[in-house]
């Protein structure tokens, strides 16, 4: 990967709304070149999607999320992947990762109530063949997500004019 591609990715990861023209000026390269690189990254699914990071709590929206530690039995040839797919295909699963350590899958669920989540775990998740056990941890508070502090009190406190 060349430096320009890396910088484009870093800029977009920080702020997906930057236009190719703006990026081109910032990196001192041609706008057409930036457009080309972005197109290629999108085609190759390096860039998967441009989304907004939303703080639902501020809108008074009651959302419940939970981390489910899942232990599963790996299968011949496919390892964890087949069971994993059966789990992550559910839209309730917001993110999911295979972990080292005492359990296998870290499954992040989002729902509108605790009941909805426990229902999903007991009827859908735990009953999948190959799932050995589940441990459910409800999220009490989100401090930071994807590198963004939810309630960042560090606004600009500088003097308006200084030498």
């Amino acid at each position: 990967m060349d430096d320009t591609t890396r910088e484009i990715l870093e800029l977009l990861q920080e702020n997906a709304r930057l236009t190719p023209e703006e990026i081109a000026v910032m990196l001192d390269v041609d706008a057409a070149e930036v457009q080309g690189i972005i197109k290629e990254l999108e085609d190759k699914k390096v860039i998967l999607r441009y989304i907004a990071l939303v703080n639902w709590e501020k809108m008074g929206e009651e959302k419940v999320s939970a981390l489910i530690e899942v232990r599963i039995t790996p299968q011949r040839d496919v390892g964890f992947d087949a069971v994993a797919e059966r789990i992550y295909r559910f839209p309730e699963v917001r993110s999911m990762r295979l972990m080292s350590g005492t359990y296998d899958l870290a499954v992040f669920l989002e729902g509108s109530s605790m009941k909805e989540i426990s229902n999903f775990v007991s009827t859908k998740l735990a009953t999948i063949e190959g799932v050995v056990s589940t441990t459910t941890h409800f999220v009490l508070k989100t401090y930071k997500q994807d590198g963004v502090i939810m309630e960042d009190g560090e606004e600009d406190r500088r003097l308006m004019i200084s030498p």
Binding site: E22, D30, M160, I161, P163
Partner: protein, 414 residues
């Protein structure tokens, strides 16, 4: 009882120092609502967390005492190692480095330690606001060497030579420059260094913006042949590590210079606050990656700013360092102050009138790009509107032109 006029009793040297040109404008900005300020002379980043956390830890551990007058030896050793690694200049941390309360104190100490009444100090202009007052308060006489956009705001060896008189003692340099963003090439500096040696001048080199160099590589003045012994090198942590409020800087130079400065420092300041020194130590130990990230951000915004002025049709020299652009706002038909005041009134964008940095800054404005991308784009939208109203023809907004394609780093009004 008659009111006594106490101002008569103020030392005339202090009385005669004019108040900072920035001050009046500061009050004006404070009265205005909804202002986006590009007039700030400090990073928009807060000090990186690992530095703040190290400082908190030092407080927990009870580091609340005086340090040696010179500063913590460990910090001086780290500074020496940093200078050697970066510029291959060697200083003895025991007697050639003094930790000060920012470069500001170091500059004052150097002036007071070196000047006797009547000594002349050569200062390139536009210049940082405290150079002339510090010179005057130490009994010296500031002699300005005007620089211009045509010369990329650089001074030449010839300029220095022709400004020298029998009373000239000190040459003060500041590159990358506040307010212009100018940088000097190594060859040009070497020629100036030759003049300094020839005329036995002492050079005070304020290199606080050294890490914020985007074009070419920064040359540490002390790294030039014959210069280390006659240079007082000033630097600090404010700009590179976003640590302005901590007030930690240093001076490096020969033991006679630094010893004399330390004498004044020990009787006035005693020592730099230990809390700031602890933070500075962490910055040198682990702050390089974070510093490089911030420099990358400034550089990208630098490109945006230069392009924005090109599009507006306002001539702007391409700054090679610091985080300032210095556009020629007189193209609007307004003077520096008039431009700044009208822009503030009509569009609520604050910047610093160029004449606050000396007479050769007239016709220009200092625009700091140590501001968020959002603020920068909004500020430039407003500024473009204002400039258009003044009758400046903007370029047709086009695909951005490669900045490096231009010659001389000057963009012309179309």
């Amino acid at each position: 009882m008659t009111q006594k006029n106490w101002s008569d009793r103020i030392n005339p040297a202090v009385r005669s120092v004019p108040p900072s040109g920035i001050r009046r404008f500061f009050d004006l900005v404070a009265e205005t609502r909804g202002v986006i300020s590009l007039g700030v002379g400090e990073p928009d980043f807060v000090t990186p967390w690992h530095i703040r956390e190290a400082c908190i830890y030092s407080l927990e551990k009870g580091y609340t005492m005086y340090t040696s007058n010179w500063g913590l030896l460990e910090l001086r050793e780290a500074v020496a190692a940093d200078l050697e690694r970066t510029y291959n200049v060697k200083y003895n941390p025991k007697n050639e480095i003094l930790i000060t309360v920012g470069v500001s104190e170091a500059l004052d100490l150097a002036m007071r330690a070196l000047l006797v009444p009547g000594d002349e100090v050569l200062i390139p202009e536009p210049s940082y606001v405290s150079y002339a007052p510090c010179t005057t308060l130490a009994g010296g006489v500031p002699v300005f060497m005007p620089t211009s956009m045509e010369n990329n705001f650089r001074i030449s060896a010839d300029q220095v030579r022709s400004a020298i008189t029998p009373r000239t003692k000190v040459l003060l340099l500041c590159y990358p420059n506040n307010p212009t963003g100018a940088v000097m090439e190594r060859e040009e500096l070497a020629k100036i260094a030759e003049v300094a040696v020839e005329h036995d001048l002492i050079v005070i080199s304020d290199e606080i913006y050294d890490r914020l160099t985007y074009v070419g590589e920064h040359t540490c003045l002390a790294s030039l042949p014959g210069m280390q012994e006659r240079t007082v090198l000033l630097n600090g942590f404010s700009k590179a590590y976003a640590m302005t409020g901590w007030r930690v800087g240093y001076a490096a130079g020969n033991p006679d210079f630094i010893g004399a400065m330390t004498k004044i420092h020990q009787y006035s300041m005693l020592c730099t606050p230990i809390t700031g020194q602890m933070a500075a130590l962490e910055a040198l130990k682990n702050g390089q990656p974070g510093m490089r990230r911030m420099v990358g951000h400034y550089n990208r915004r630098r490109h945006l700013v230069v392009q924005a002025f090109r599009d507006m049709g306002v001539p702007c020299f391409e700054p090679g360092g610091a985080f300032y652009a210095f556009p020629q706002v007189s193209v609007t038909g307004l003077g520096s102050e008039e431009f700044a005041e009208e822009l503030l009134k009509q569009e609520q964008v604050a910047l610093v009138p160029g004449n606050a940095f000396g007479r050769s800054g007239e016709g220009f404005a200092r625009v700091s790009y140590a501001a968020s991308l959002d603020d920068l784009s909004e500020a430039f939208r407003r500024m473009a509107r204002f400039v258009r109203r003044c009758g400046v023809r903007s370029r047709i907004i086009s695909a951005p032109v490669k900045i490096s394609d231009r010659q001389e780093g000057i963009c012309q009004t179309i």
